[in-house]
Amino acid sequence: MKLRYYIAVRLGLAIPTMIILLTTVFFLMHVLPGDPVVIMYGDRYPTKYIDEIRHNLGLDRSIWEQYGSYISDIAKGDLGISFVHKVPVVQKMSNTYACTLELAIVGLIVSTLLGLPLGIIAAMRRDGWFDHISRLVSLYIHSNPGFWVALIFQIIFGLMLGLFPISGRSPPDFQLTKVTGLYILDSILTLNFEAFIQSIRYLALPVLTIAITSIPYLSRLSRASMINVLGEDYMVTAKAKGLPQWSITYKHALRNALLPVITSVGGQFTALLGGTVIIEKIFSLPGLGSLLMDSLTARDFTMIQGIVAIYAVIVVVMNTVIDIVYAAADPRVKY
């Protein structure tokens, strides 16, 4: 099969995945205790009035009817109206999703750029001092809970050294033309150097926290993958052919060692996205995680469903992209 078809199949598979995730959260929300109408308007109103609102919102229909209209609304891009904020969920989220996306993607890039070389070097100098030390250090770092690391960073880099801001996404007098909502990307696109520096400064500690918790995993994985490749027969062949060492290392070994790492990046992204909820809370970032926490406390059903839908879109897109990259990078992959 050609790569084109593989991509089509992979995109087709993304749809049932989305539906499963949305269905799960829909039914979960309907076991939640608490009447959404009472949450929205309080219990001061007479029953007749409450019933009327319930009817207007379609909450008096059977759960299956509600489910049907929920799925068809989502297909049209309509996530409903927030019970608490009384504005469309999409509008409320349009300001927050970019914050989480930026945090997660920059976090993933930084941890991959640091974790990968560390693992490769450890594998090249296997059982040397670098290998041993990096293994111990990464095991130790891996055991630190992310929220604790974040607090320590806030104290050391924020309060004691005053290097980076410890909360928020931008300074109060921040000026930036909105293009995508991702501050770093926007400031590059609009050539706004001042905003570029500021958005990086504000992102530094949250991203560092994410990187600290992800690097051990990625470096360990790339080390194992590299060692595996170094033991393959074609490495002996390359050496026997008299190829120079750099060509053996970078062309033959590294390229093959990267393949398993590509697949695991998807899983790492998922884990990292879950971690952003706590990180957003600690650094007071106005992202999806903070919105989710508020909506969970307020029992804002439509909002929670909408946030899960966005998270689902993010992970499904990311995983589909990674699968396609993997298929394109490895000609041996069976479609």
């Binding site: 049932p16 995945t17 499963i20 995730l21 799960t24 959260v25 979960l28 929300m29 076991v31 939640l32 205790p33 041993h132 095991l139 130790y140 891996h142 055991s143 630190n144 809970p145 992310g146 929220f147 604790w148 607090l151 320590i152 104290i155 194992a224 060692i227 595996n228 033991g231 998807g266 899983g267 998922t270 884990a271 996205l273 879950g274 971690g275 909820v277 706590i278 809370k281 989710l292 926490m293 969970l296 029992r299 929670i304 899960v308 998270y311 689902a312 992970v315 499904v316 995983n319």
Partner: protein, 289 residues
């Protein structure tokens, strides 16, 4: 090739393991066992009553209160030892629950195959790529606060992982040539299960349980930190840390420091244990380690 009486001989595997793996295993086991002692007898060995208020509020660590006192004058060390019961106990229940569910679903899916397998795989894959921590947050709110509810919520986050592991194990055991060969040699089912399938499962299950304890402890303290875990005054480590954060700017560093150290020691213990076990129990993996 000679056949041993039992297929799962830990002492033999341990003896041939490299020194570093033995060290990791011993250190990890020690940490984990000490913490498990806290879980079982914690309430009886705390130096002071973990719920007893005193005049000494926000007291710095002294010889009387080794880890200081909190805003109500309660002894932090006693609270953290007592809290092991919650942080680790819930994690243990969650690991057990997710393992049983994963075992049942995974082995059924892998053994029977067909449409059942395809549908379950699609469902579990969908859950697998979704951040499990967000599932846990929603589940905790749906199920309400409580020990069992939290344990259930955390186990649900881990089911997809266990399911996939058990499924692939079942399929690979089913397809292994040596099982067919043993059958030809006249071995009965029980002999095959005891000597081939069990060791194969066991070596991976021990590591999974240990890793699960680490991630479970992290999840509970994370939920507690967000205020969705075990509510105060129960001294769960994450809840304690979140509570202590309020007094951090006032200089009460010990209220954040020591709960974090307890989580760190637990994580370090379980991670060392699982890494050590992984190398000891799977000699073939050693090529990678």
């Amino acid at each position: 090739m000679s056949y041993k009486k039992s297929g799962f001989n830990f002492r033999e595997l341990y003896n041939i393991a490299p020194r570093s793996a033995k060290a990791m295993f011993i250190v990890g086991l020690t940490f984990s066992l000490i913490l498990m002692v806290f879980v079982v007898v914690g309430p009886y060995i705390t130096p002071q009553d973990p719920y007893q208020f005193s005049e000494n509020t926000l007291g710095a660590p002294t010889s009387k209160n080794l880890m200081g006192t909190d805003n109500l004058g309660r002894d932090l060390l006693s609270r953290l030892i007592y809290g092991a019961r919650y942080s680790l106990g819930i994690s243990l229940v969650a690991v057990g629950l997710s393992l049983v569910i994963g075992l049942v679903l995974g082995s059924a899916s892998g053994f029977f195959g067909g449409n059942l397998d395809r549908i379950m795989m699609l469902f579990m894959d969908a859950m697998y790529i979704f951040p499990s921590f967000i599932y846990m947050l929603i589940m905790v709110v749906v199920l309400g606060p409580g020990l069992w509810q939290t344990a259930l919520a955390i186990s649900i986050g881990r089911i997809p992982y266990n399911y996939r592991l058990i499924r692939s194990l079942t399929i690979s055991v089913k397809e292994r040539g040596f099982i067919e060969a043993e059958r030809v040699l006249g071995a009965d089912n029980w002999y095959i299960i005891r000597n081939h399938i069990m060791p194969y499962y066991m070596s991976i299950l021990f590591v999974t349980v240990s890793l699960g304890m680490a991630s479970g402890t992290l999840a509970i303290s994370g939920l507690g930190f967000l205020g969705l875990g075990i509510p105060p005054p129960t001294p769960e480590w994450g809840t304690e840390l979140a509570g202590g954060r309020t007094y951090l700017l006032g200089g009460a560093w010990w209220l954040v420091m020591f709960p974090g150290v307890f989580v760190l020691i637990a994580m370090l213990g379980f991670n060392l244990l699982s890494d050590g076990l992984d190398i000891i129990l799977n000699p073939t993996v050693r090529r990678l380690q």
